[in-house]
Amino acid sequence: MNFWADPIKIIYDWLMLTLTSWGLDGAVANIIADLLGIVLLITAAMVLDIMLVWVERKVVARFQGRLGPNRIGPFGLFQPFPDIIKLIIKEDITPNGADVVVYNIAPILSLGSVIFLWAVVPLASTIYGTDLNVALLYLVAAGALGTLSIIMAGWASNNKYALLGAFRQVAAMISFEIPMVVALLIPTIIAGSLSLKDITASQSGGMWFFLFSPLGAVLFLISAIAELGRSPFDLNEGESEIVSGYHIEYTGMKFGLFYAGELLHAFTFGGFAAVLFFGGWHGPWASQYPLLGAFYFIAKAMFGYWVIMWVKYTVPRIRIDHMLAFNWKFLTPVAFALLIITAVAHSLLKGAGFWPYFLGMFFSNVLLGWVTLEILRATTHKQRLAVETPNPVAHH
C-alpha cells in the first residue's frame, strides 16, 4: 500500500540508494535519476501521441458517419503502426534551394516545443516533472518556440505558398496569444500562484475553476484552438485551400513529426484545460492513490481533446481577416473585461467564505457574458439594418 500512496518518490529513493551505493556522488546520482524520469515521461508522451493518431481517425470517421480504420487489429487499434512505417520508409525529398539546416531543424523544434510542455504538467499529486514556480509562463514560452518553428519551416522551404501559409499562421497564432495569456491569468488570480501544481491543489474538494469562471474556460478553449492552428482556424494549413501551407515541402518522417506534434499539442492543451479549469487530477480517492489521479487527468485531457476535435469537425473554416478581426475586436476586449471583473470580484470576496465567493464570481461571469451578447446583438442589428434597408433609388 505504501507504494501506491507515493510511487514516484519510492522509485526515486530506491534509485538514489542504488546509484549512491555504486559509488556515485549525490548530485550526479540526482541527475541520472532525473534523466531516467525524463526519458520515461517523454517516451510515455510519444506513445500517447501514437495512440492519438488512431483516436483522431476514429473520431473524425464517426463524426462524418463512417467507420474509420477497422482492419488492422481489433477496431483498427494497430493502425498507427503502418502509418509510422509508411512515413519512415518514404523518401526524404529536400526541395531545390531550400536552406538545409533550417529546413531540418524546423520539424524537430516543432515537436520538441510540444514535448517541452510535459515537464510541468502535474499528472497526479506526486507524479509530475518538476514544480516550476512560473509554470504558466513556461507554457506561453514553449508556445513561442512552436511559433518560431513554423516561420522556420515556411521560410526554409523556398516555396511561395509555404511562406505565405507560414506568415498567416504565425500572424494568427501570435494574435490569439493575447486572449490566451489573459485567460491564463484568471486561474492565477483565483489560485494566487503561477505554479501548475498549486493551481491543481487549490481545486481540491470539487471547487473546480470552471465553476468560478466559466467564461474564462470558454475563452481559453477558443484561443487554444486558434493557437493550435486547428480548424476552424486552420486556413493556413487547410488541405483544400493553400495545399497544407508550411507543410508543403516536407515528406516522410519530417511531415510525420509536424503531424504528430499537432496532435500531441491538441491533447496537451486538453490537458491544460483540465489542469487549469477542470480540477486536474482531482477525483474520488485521487489524493490517496496518485495513479488513480493520473488516470483521472488523462481522462479529462481526453475529454478536452474530444471537445477540440468536435469543434474541428463541425465548424467550417474561418477566413484570415475574419479570424484576426474576431481576435482583436472581440476576444481581446472581452478577455480584458473578464480579467478586470475577476480581479474585482476576487479582491472583494476572497475572505468571505465559499458560497459568496462562488456566487459572486459565477454571476459576474454570467453578467459579462450577457452584456457581451447584448452588445453583439446591437451591433449586428445595426449592420443588418444597414444592409437590408431598401435603397430609395432602387428600380422604377
Binding site: 516555396n159 501570435i174 500562484s193 503561477l194
Partner: protein, 118 residues
C-alpha cells in the same frame, strides 16, 4: 531542493534529442533517389513563376507590433495578478488603470483602421 531549472534544462536536451531519433532512423532506411523534377518546388503542379520571396504586405508587421505591445502588457500583469492576494483593494484599481490605458490604445488603433486586414 535543487534548482528546478536543472530539470527543465535536462528536459530540453532530451526533448530535442528524442524527435531526432525517428528522423535519423528514416534517413538510414529510406531510399534516396534525387532527380531534378522531384526536387523542384511545388506550385499547384506547374512550373514556378517568379522569385520565391515575394513582397509581403505591411499588415503582417503591424499585427506583430500590436501583438508586441500587448504581450509586454500581459507580462506586466502577471506579478500584479499574484499580488492581488497580498494587498488591499487599491491594487486592483492600479491594475484596472493599467489595463484601461492600454484598452484606450487598442481602441485608438481600431478607430484608425490599423486592425484591418486589407
Amino acid at each position: 531542493m535543487q534548482n528546478p531549472w536543472i530539470y527543465i534544462g535536462l528536459f530540453l536536451l532530451v526533448g530535442i534529442i528524442i524527435p531526432i531519433i525517428p528522423i535519423a532512423f528514416s534517413a538510414l532506411i529510406a531510399p534516396r533517389k534525387p532527380n531534378p523534377i522531384k526536387q523542384s518546388t511545388y506550385e499547384c503542379g506547374i512550373e514556378t513563376v517568379g522569385e520565391s520571396w515575394v513582397q509581403f504586405k505591411a499588415q503582417y508587421y503591424i499585427f506583430a507590433l500590436v501583438f508586441l505591445i500587448f504581450d509586454v502588457e500581459t507580462v506586466f500583469l502577471f506579478p500584479w495578478a499574484l499580488a492581488l492576494n497580498a494587498l488591499p483593494f487599491f491594487a486592483v484599481l492600479e491594475g484596472i488603470l493599467f489595463i484601461l490605458i492600454l484598452m484606450a490604445g487598442l481602441s485608438f488603433a481600431w478607430r484608425k483602421g490599423m486592425l484591418e486586414w486589407v
